[in-house]
């Protein structure tokens, strides 16, 4: 188990810069997710940690030791791929035993270690089978067993759940987290799926166009996005041009369109430095539709429902307030509001966040 440090890493492919100067500190035993859309550089970062790519600049440290010049087969990392990458000509047990052959594991210990790993991923009876005889979810468990049986210093997961069905994906998410907590290995997880990132991570690193946009705990990244990109990428947000009128003891005073002047807690606007242009970020699920005006302390604005996107336990509404279209995601029981309905939008100022303009 080891920490991972990226120091001013740059990766260029010809004229294209995949990763701009980025630094990252992944503490020992942490589950850190690199999150972002495709092409944001998250996989490039992972492959550089793995040793599959060499950084153009900067250095990579694993357990405090510089590994830039250490070839991949000497880094002692567990690597899990999106497409499982099991060896099709070897049985499951041979796949899992593969890494042990290159380590100082006595030959008579190997079957025991393999069996322990298979039990850890809850597939103790498939050792004699070939990968193609297993389902996708089972294959990914075997890939995980193969990666952790070597007791890696760092476990690297490259979109390991993306090839699985939606239901299976959520089961595997819980399973993966359980195994990671049990063995306590430092884990770097790459995904474009925000719900995976939010559910599993100790820390999320949001990346965009080769740059790190924000690093923080899931709640922090979700509730206090550092940029418009983060606010949009994690969940649905309404972002509007606003003005900061001043900062005081109770918080930051924001003059927002539609909702008027609101005081937002300072911790929800850490990057706003003073009066001037600002942006207000309102999460879609914090905007409540109601047939009635709001009670005291809650901002209330009349609006018209334009589109209703019924999702079962929740509804996504697009509503129009004045000239502005806003989206709201509300939990419901019973009937949603109909299209064209006149409603009141309820918003608590403490649920808003603000960014510099």
């Amino acid at each position: 188990m080891s920490s991972v440090t990226l120091n001013n890493i740059v990766k260029r492919f010809g004229n294209f810069t995949a990763v701009h100067q980025s630094s990252l500190e992944i503490p020992e035993g942490a589950f850190v997710t690199l999150l972002g859309p495709s092409g944001c550089g998250k996989t490039t970062n992972l492959r550089m940690i793995a040793g599959l790519l060499d950084p153009s600049e900067g250095e990579i440290l694993i357990g405090g030791k510089r590994v830039n010049d250490v070839p991949i087969h000497k880094r002692n990392l567990g690597l899990v791929f999106q497409n499982y990458a099991l060896f099709p000509h070897k049985t499951v047990a041979e796949n899992v035993a593969f890494g042990l052959k290159y380590r100082d594991v006595p030959a008579d210990q190997i079957p025991k270690r393999v069996q322990e790993a298979l039990e850890l991923v809850q597939l103790p009876n498939v050792g004699e089978r070939y990968p193609k005889e297993l389902s996708g979810g089972q294959q990914q468990r075997i890939a995980l067993a193969r990666a952790i049986v070597i007791e890696p210093d760092v476990l690297l997961l490259d979109e390991p759940l993306s090839a699985l069905d939606a239901n299976l994906r959520e089961d595997m998410r819980v399973e993966l987290k359980r195994i990671q907590e049990r063995i306590g290995v430092t884990t770097v997880f790459v995904t474009h799926d925000q719900s995976e990132a939010l559910a599993m991570s100790d820390q999320i690193v949001v990346m965009s166009e080769g740059r790190v946009e924000q690093v923080g705990a899931p709640e922090e990244v979700y509730n206090t996005p550092a940029s418009e990109f983060v606010a949009n990428f994690l969940g649905a947000s309404n972002i509007m041009e606003a003005k900061c009128a001043g900062m005081g003891g109770e918080g930051v005073t924001i003059e927002a369109p539609i909702f008027g002047t609101m005081t937002i807690p300072s911790e929800k606007a850490p990057r706003v430095t003073g009066a001037g242009p600002a942006k207000i970020v309102i999460r879609a699920e914090k905007l409540q539709l109601s047939a009635n005006p709001a009670p005291e302390g809650v901002v209330s604005v009349p609006a018209t429902v334009e589109t209703v996107d019924y999702q079962g336990q929740a509804v996504r509404y697009f509503v129009r307030a004045g000239d502005t279209q806003l989206q709201a995601i509300n939990m419901i029981d019973g009937h949603p509001f109909a299209e064209g309905a006149e409603v009141h939008l309820h918003l608590r100022p403490i649920d808003c966040a603000a960014l510099p303009g």
Binding site: H73, N76, L77, L79, F81, N83, A85, F87, F98, R146
Partner: protein, 288 residues
Amino acid sequence: MSVEAREARQPWILLSPALTAVALLLFVPLLFIVVYSFWLRTATGADEVGFFLDNWQEALTDAFYRDILLNTLKIAAITTLVCALMGYPAAYFIARSKGNKAILLLLLMLPFWISYIIRTMSWINILGVSGALNTALLSVGVIDEPIQMLYNETTVILGLVHFLLPFMVLNVFVSLDGIDTNLEDAANSLGATRWQAFTNVTLPLSLPGLAAGGLLCFVLGAGTYITPLVLGGPTDAMFANLVFEAIITQLNWPLGSALSLMLLVVLGALVLIYNRYLGMAQLMKGLG
């Protein structure tokens, strides 16, 4: 007619032109050859129709034919081995090259645009007494008089390798190209060096392609008569040359038929063994 019956008939309707062609152009002539092999050529030069085993007896018992058959199989085996050793790295390089795979494959196919005979004869201009190599060596002063490099077993093998190498490269390429590159990365991450990852993962997974390429090279090599005719000496005849000699030169169709069927059976047995263990599907992949 029920839907099922119609659907069951459809593949046969689509196959019928090809099956007709194969039947008329391959199986019927082959049948003629079988019939011919039991006729007998008389001293007058005419063929006597009947059921004689003389040709078969001669072909199967004469040590001359046996030795040439064994020599043919040896030359084909050496050629196949050389093609495998030369073709595998080339195929690996093409399969792993990122952007210019299409151009490299086109270059590989380029020799097929020139007749095989012309390609074979080009070696005369290179290795002949007044060929490029001798001229160069003479002008540099390494040798005083031209060396005879042509017309031996080595040049026959050289010509065959030249002819068959693309088949090997293509088959191995198809096999390698289908192997997920993540597998080597996974093997490396588990502690295998690049060489160990290759020998433990990539090589075993590409063996079907190597076997398909090997079979093609062997069968085509063992069946050729042009290369030994053009590049071989008087003692370098291969089995197909005997068939050529019997049928074209001596006009002894019955004996030539028996000899050609003998070669067909030997090479056919090889194909059957291959099919038993690896299946024809792999060969089709490489040809397609």
